[in-house]
Amino acid sequence: MIQWLAFLLFSLLAILSALGVVVLPNPVYVILSLLSSLIAIAGIFFVAGAELVGAIQLLIYAVAVTVFYVFVLTAVPWEKALKKDSHYRIEGVMSFPLLLLMYLEVLIVFSLGISASPKGQIIQISKKFGNTEVIGSILFSKYFLVFELVSLVLLIGMIGAVIIGRKEAQTYDSDTP
């Protein structure tokens, strides 16, 4: 009962905050709404019994990534941006059927994929030990290569971000109207 109550609360909060991410006009309000949604999603993880993922969601997403976004939003002088009216309003409305189609596709993938999956035995081990120990033992045995690959991806992402974000010697302001 309490599990359902918590789940419904977190889900409602996450969905309402996600709605705020989509509809709010000011980017600062949007980042606050995203933060609320991320925290509610961490709550959903806790209700589901995935304590490690929930804790990392709070640590990495709700703290590190959000602060990174806030840093970009405040450090870049957006008021110097060229303001122009949108010329793609009708095209935005016209993309709705595609959106519904993607919805349907995701639904089909989820339902079919889950009904085709095998039942696992790891829940017995998970009851004997904690959730974190089970994840750690699987992560460092079965998925060790993937773990190393993720570290490589993070390194490449860091190098790419430094190279892309560095100051260019010459800008193209002169040939833009």
């Binding site: 996600a18 060229l82 949108s86 995701v106 989820f110 790891i122 992402g157 860091m158």
Partner: protein, 102 residues
Amino acid sequence: MTAIPLEAYMLVSVLIFGLGLFGMIVRRNLVTVLMSMELALNAVNIAFVGADVHLGLADGQIFALFIIALAAAEAAVGLGIIISIFRLRRVESTDEITDMRD
């Protein structure tokens, strides 16, 4: 007292993923487009964890951890691209970036 069924997790996940997708299509500010992408990634995480609870596995949670790590890398590279677009072109809207289309 029953456990939460898989359908509930999937419903929440699909709703949030749809909102993120909607935001990616509709929003015009580049940074908010990236934030909507984070929302969609989180929806996938909910689906992974919910399927884990349903199946009694732990693999989905590991994949959720990988998604979180990749989302951090994606945020770094994406925000770097946005900053360099702003520095080169002085625009913050997706409507103005049409150089590779025409």
